[in-house]
């Protein structure tokens, strides 16, 4: 059974419907809201599978269905749906992981009083993400993109009574919006340059050769190709959404939301959107690549930003103590890997890593959630420990996730997707710096994940809460098991044959991955694992306040990393102050300058009145008074004529008339 592209809108529409149901359900209707949300996700998953079947029938085809949203002048603003393997794989991943996270939430949020609203927001989140995926128009993609931002805002701030959660939500929204402004400008520019925002439109779409050529050929005054400028602007959006350097600061704070939300944000929906966007518009990003006279290529920027992000995220993760924060920075790092992959020209590797990462990162977050839930919301791993016994299922599945993330060879999907990226970086002919950054990050990843597992699960419980922890009900563990299985099984997509690669991009030449590079990365992973075990596994801390061995060795570096490289402070000192200053300036201008001007004019008027009055009193009025006294006395004389006697008046009128006529007649006055 296949799903035709006309009906592709059903996939986002179903969760949206569930969100509407959840929004209108009173807080008592828990079952209705949750079942609607999960049923919608399952249905969307089934539809996505059908869509996948349809897409794989001809992987090279871009099936589109375009329609008019509204007329504008003589033209129209058009939207559309696009079905190709990229869409289909993403849909399947989002709906599958989403469904599992939804089910997990049933258990995790069971005691929350805003249960229905939570499912409403989750559904909205999934719907918006699916909207991004199925869109054949940058405009509709942007619409969904912003809705993703909204949903993340609502979910991160779900426990809005906590000031930290509220602040984190706002930070996430604002930070991603900074990137979105770039995306908006890029989109507007693209629209202006091409007159359409459809990706594929029978030859007229922006991702089709005619358009790409036109965009690449025209250059700006600074020598940049228009396509480069547009690509970079759009990339700004991805930087914000996908937590790339330098806009990654919101991602760790987003941990303030409930853990399933973190799982959703970090695995399936929000951060994946940025990578997906760049993969979607890859032809545009790549358009300037073979044009050698340009000062800069869009993809180069992407690769370096990705490499910096990968290394930076891994470094910061080493020094975090909050279990979710470690995972958050590992997400930053892995997203950097994906961007790196796109930047070095292999968007397929990026999507592959996106898919595998979605599964094992969801697994890790849900596992962390399971731990947190069991340990009564204790998230500091220095206070955990010894959970491998009481939480058997969680421990095992978490270990699978950890090994997938660390890139333990062969069995785990993460290894294959990471290898694909490293190979692509190796094959990149511009620079090898991203490769070295990536390899360093690989070591660090293995290191901090080992630390995480060791501190959380091994040794003895180091707090009362951790001591009381026991395994969670099946509604929470079953999704873990499924995800763990997937984290392993997904290896099959890449090995023994690079099947996924063929489906996504049949023309791509598969690099015959150098065996030496693979060996090197295996050695590096082993190094990381070993170092982690040596530092944290053997010397298990005995109580929560015992010093960190790394902090003891390199206190200043550790403090710097623990403070997340001071980015927040840096931004607060620069942009925060700048915008506050601008606000103060604007307000001051208003209050004192413009308002002052207006008041000055008013004062001048008043002053004029005052001067006038004084001058009148002393100068003019004195004269006037004299004159008017004279006039008054004369008037009094004259007023005696006003006897009030009617006859007198009448007589005067008659005589006046006679005199007048005589004057006219005799005097000849004509």
């Amino acid at each position: 059974m296949t799903l035709s592209v006309q009906h592709l809108w059903l996939i986002p529409a179903l969760p949206l419907l569930a969100a509407a149901i959840g929004a209108l359900t009173p807080s008592g209707g828990r079952t209705l809201a949750a079942s609607a949300a999960i049923a919608a996700m399952v249905a969307a998953f089934v539809l996505s599978c059908c869509a996948l079947v349809a897409a794989l029938a001809d992987p090279t085809a871009n099936l589109t269905y375009n329609f008019t949203w509204f007329d504008l002048g003589t033209g129209a603003v058009r939207l559309g749906w696009l079905l190709n393997p990229l869409t289909a794989f993403m849909c399947v991943m989002v709906t599958f992981v989403g469904t599992l996270i939804f089910v997990f939430s049933l258990g995790y949020m069971h005691d929350d009083e805003n249960f229905t609203r939570f499912f409403c927001f989750l559904s909205l989140f999934a719907a918006a993400m699916l909207g991004i995926v199925v869109s054949n128009s940058l405009l509709f993609l942007f619409v969904s993109w912003e809705l993703v931002g909204l949903a993340s805002y609502l979910l991160i701030g779900f426990w809005f009574q906590k000031p930290e959660a509220a602040a984190a939500a706002k930070k996430a929204f604002i930070t991603t919006r900074i990137g979105d402004l770039g995306l908006l400008l890029g989109m507007v520019w693209l629209y202006h340059a091409r007159g359409t925002l459809l990706f594929f439109d029978g030859g007229a779409g922006v991702l089709e050769p005619a358009s790409l050529t036109a965009l690449m050929v025209s250059t700006l005054s600074c020598g940049l190709a228009v396509s480069t400028a547009i690509s970079l602007l759009i990339f700004c959006g991805a930087v914000g959404k996908s937590g790339q350097f330098p806009l990654h600061v919101w991602l760790p704070d987003a941990m303030e939301g409930p853990t399933p939300v973190s799982a959703l944000i970090h695995a399936a929906t929000m951060v994946a959107a940025g990578v997906f966007l760049i993969a979607r518009i890859y032809p545009l990003m790549e358009a300037d690549y073979h044009h050698h006279n340009l000062p800069i290529h869009a993809l180069t920027v992407v690769a370096f930003i990705g490499a910096i992000t990968a290394l930076m995220g891994a470094l910061i993760a080493v020094a975090q103590n909050d279990i979710k924060r470690v995972l958050a920075f590992s997400t930053v790092s892995q997203l950097g890997f994906m961007m790196l992959a796109i930047g070095v020209g292999s968007w397929v590797a990026a999507i592959f890593h996106l898919l595998t990462h979605a599964f094992f990162k969801a697994l890790l977050f849900l596992g962390a959630g399971s731990v947190i839930h069991a340990a009564h919301h204790e998230q500091d791993m220095r206070k955990l420990g010894g959970l491998s016994g009481p939480m058997r299922v969680t421990f095992l599945t978490f270990a699978v996730g950890m090994m997938a993330l660390a890139g333990v060879p062969f069995l785990f999907s993460g290894f294959w997707s990471k290898e694909a990226i490293l190979h692509a970086a190796h094959a990149w002919d511009v620079s090898h710096i991203p490769l070295y950054f990536g390899l360093t990050a690989v070591v660090l990843t293995a290191f901090y994940m080992t630390r995480l597992v060791a501190e959380t699960f091994f040794g003895k419980p180091r707090s009362h809460a951790a001591g009381l922890a026991h395994e969670n009900p099946a509604v929470m563990t079953v999704p873990l098991v499924i995800l763990a299985a997937c984290a392993i099984l997904l290896s099959l997509l890449a090995w023994p044959t690079p099947w996924l690669q063929h489906q996504l991009d049949p023309q791509a030449h598969t690099e015959p991955g150098g065996l030496s590079l693979m060996m090197l990365s295996i050695v590096l992973v082993a190094l990381g694992l070993g170092a982690g075990w040596a530092l944290y596994g053997r010397l298990l801390r005995t109580n929560a306040s015992a010093p960190d061995p790394l902090a003891a060795a390199l206190p200043r570096l550790h403090a710097f990393l623990a403070a997340r490289m001071m980015f927040d402070e840096l931004y607060a000192a620069t942009f925060g102050r700048l915008s506050n200053g601008l606000a103060a300036l604007a307000d001051g201008l208003d209050r004192y300058v413009w308002g002052g001007l207006v008041n000055l004019v008013a004062r001048l008027g008043q002053f004029g009145g005052l001067v006038n009055r004084e001058a009148d009193e002393d100068g003019l009025n004195a004269g006037f008074d004299a004159v008017s006294r004279k006039v008054r006395s004369v008037g009094q004389i004259y007023s005696r004529a006003q006897t009030g006697e009617t006859h007198g008046y009448l007589r005067v009128i008659a005589l006046g008339f006679v005199v007048l006529v005589l004057l006219v007649m005799l005097g000849g006055v004509r």
Binding site: W69, F70, G73, F142, A169, V188, W189, H192, S579, A586
Partner: protein, 519 residues
């Protein structure tokens, strides 16, 4: 049936009825006011039903001789832009009345003044002869003044005087300008004047009187309209007036009256003085940009919620002017393209409508907050309202996101089209203007965070009613319309697409080649 006259005068008849019934009860006065106010919506829908968007020119035209010796006609007409604004008035006015439903002090006089204000605003949107257009324009000031002064907050008297004097001073210049136009051309009819201007005769005739006149007249009219919109930096009357006015009046001021200025720009200044506008548009573009950026940043700094929303109005309206000035700026230059201009104009009209909805609803929300806290509306007077009043928080949140331009709600389409247009015409301006978008998000989210999130504090720590009854009746339709026009913008764009197209096609590049320096 003289539909347009009915639209204008039914509210006034309602006001007269209220004036003639001194012994009417408070409840009956409220109901009568509401019915008279709703007539605008009903008649607007009648006009909508028989409106032909594709027909050129004005529809439902009523033209009668009035003062023959002055060549003044009673001339009413309706095109897509007027219809949009009439409908907006029809939507916002009843909502504003409902928002002031609990107004304890003499609802009869309140209703009387409000209906007078509504009729005057409608007259401005429908009149096509400067003579009565200006009468309506000035008449709208009088009830607004009394509404602010008598029903407003503690600083209301000062704010009302400032509002009145400032706008009156502005329109005095406009009146002088039109007196000059009348002296030179002998007509005050907008359509005739526009035709003269299109042939280049208007400036010629003015210049025949004295070389300085065209510029002076242009500046006079510009000043009058700029104060009304308001264009940065003529906006200082706005925040106190909006903040001190009672909630319903704030809603009407921001929802409808602020549109009068933009309407004037599009109906009068641009058609009559395209060349002068073009010559001045560089400066004006900077001023509009200043409004966008400074309006938003100044809002960030406010602690009074109403002032904050008032500044956001400055910001949002400046987008409309930004688009207009960008079109004017680029006519005859290399950057000019027809699709971008169409998008800019369509965005302007959409933004006018959508800002009316969102800002009115935002004021309504602040008013509800104010009513719960005993008149206080500082940023620090609340906290955790979302816990106390979840439904209200939801509706207010939707309003806020609509004002912030979230896709899926009404604000987005207009802003997108404006950016699309302005970017096509003046890219740097559009780039800087995005700062305004960012600052808008910043201050609205700060407002939301401080007032609604966190633990219950301030007014919300005591008993805090959720929205119910009348408030819900006022707020829910506005919110529903936000969704409707966000998803289906063609409901609005179809009304003015042909109009906008014809505007752009009538831009005469020849006029603009003559670079007229400002004095």
């Amino acid at each position: 049936m003289p539909l347009l006259s009915l639209i204008i005068f039914v509210p006034w008849v309602g006001a007269l009825l209220l004036a003639a019934l001194p012994r009417i009860g408070d409840g009956a006065a409220r109901v009568l006011t509401l019915i008279a106010s709703l007539s605008t919506l009903a008649l607007g829908l009648v006009a909508l039903a028989s409106f032909h968007p594709a027909a050129p020119g004005f529809q439902f035209v009523e033209q009668h001789d009035w003062i023959r010796s002055l060549n003044v006609h009673y001339h009413l007409g309706l095109d897509g832009m007027s219809l949009l604004l009439v409908l907006l008035t029809g939507i916002v006015s009843p909502a504003a009345l409902l928002a002031s439903w609990k107004q304890a002090r003499s609802p009869r006089y309140f209703g009387l003044l409000f209906l007078a204000l509504q009729g005057a605003a409608l007259g401005v949107f429908l009149a096509l002869d400067f003579f009565h257009w200006f009468i309506f324009w000035e008449l709208s000031l009088v009830p607004a003044f009394f509404l602010i002064k008598l029903w407003g907050g503690p600083g209301a008297a000062r704010a009302a005087y400032q509002f009145f004097i400032y706008t009156l001073a502005g329109s005095a210049f406009m009146l002088l300008g039109f007196a000059a136009i009348f002296a030179a051309t002998g007509t005050l009819d907008f359509t005739q004047l526009a035709r003269l201007a299109a042939d280049g005769l208007l400036v010629e005739k003015l210049a025949a009187v004295s070389g300085f006149w065209p510029q002076a007249v242009f500046l006079g009219v510009l000043l009058g309209l700029a104060v009304k919109v308001p264009l940065f930096p003529f906006h200082t009357w706005l925040p106190p007036a909006y903040a001190e006015a009672p909630v319903g009046v704030s809603m009407f001021l921001t929802g409808v009256m602020s549109k009068m200025g933009v309407y004037g720009f599009l109906r009068i200044l641009w058609p009559l003085f395209p060349a002068h506008l073009h010559a001045a548009s560089g400066w004006l573009l900077c001023l509009a940009l200043g409004g966008v950026v400074f309006g938003a940043f100044a809002a960030m700094r406010q602690t009074d919620l109403k002032r904050m929303v008032a500044y956001s109005s400055v910001n949002h309206l400046s987008y409309c002017l930004l688009a207009l000035f960008a079109v004017s700026y680029s006519t005859g230059r290399i950057g000019f393209t027809v699709p971008a201009s169409i998008a800019a104009f369509a965005g302007t009209l959409l933004q006018m409508f959508n800002h009316g909805l969102s800002a009115a609803a935002l004021f309504l929300c602040v008013g509800i907050l104010e009513s719960r806290s005993g008149g206080r509306r500082g940023l620090g007077d609340f906290g955790g309202v979302r816990t106390a009043a979840p439904v209200f928080a939801g509706l207010c949140g939707i309003t806020m996101f609509s004002s912030l331009g979230l896709p899926g709600l009404n604000g987005f389409v207009g802003e997108f089209l404006i950016f699309r247009g302005v970017f096509g015409l003046a890219p740097c301006t559009a780039t800087i203007a995005t700062l305004g978008l960012l600052a808008t998000a910043l201050f609205l989210l700060t407002f939301w965070q401080r007032v609604f999130h966190g633990p219950r504090a301030g007014a919300a720590s005591r008993e805090f009613r959720d929205v119910a009854g009348i408030e819900l009746v006022a707020l829910v339709p506005l919110v529903a319309l936000m969704f409707l026009f966000g998803v289906l913008p063609h409901l609005l764009t179809n009304l003015f697409n042909p109009l906008v197209t014809s505007w752009v096609s009538h831009i005469n590049p020849v006029v603009t080649t003559a670079q007229l320096p400002l004095p």
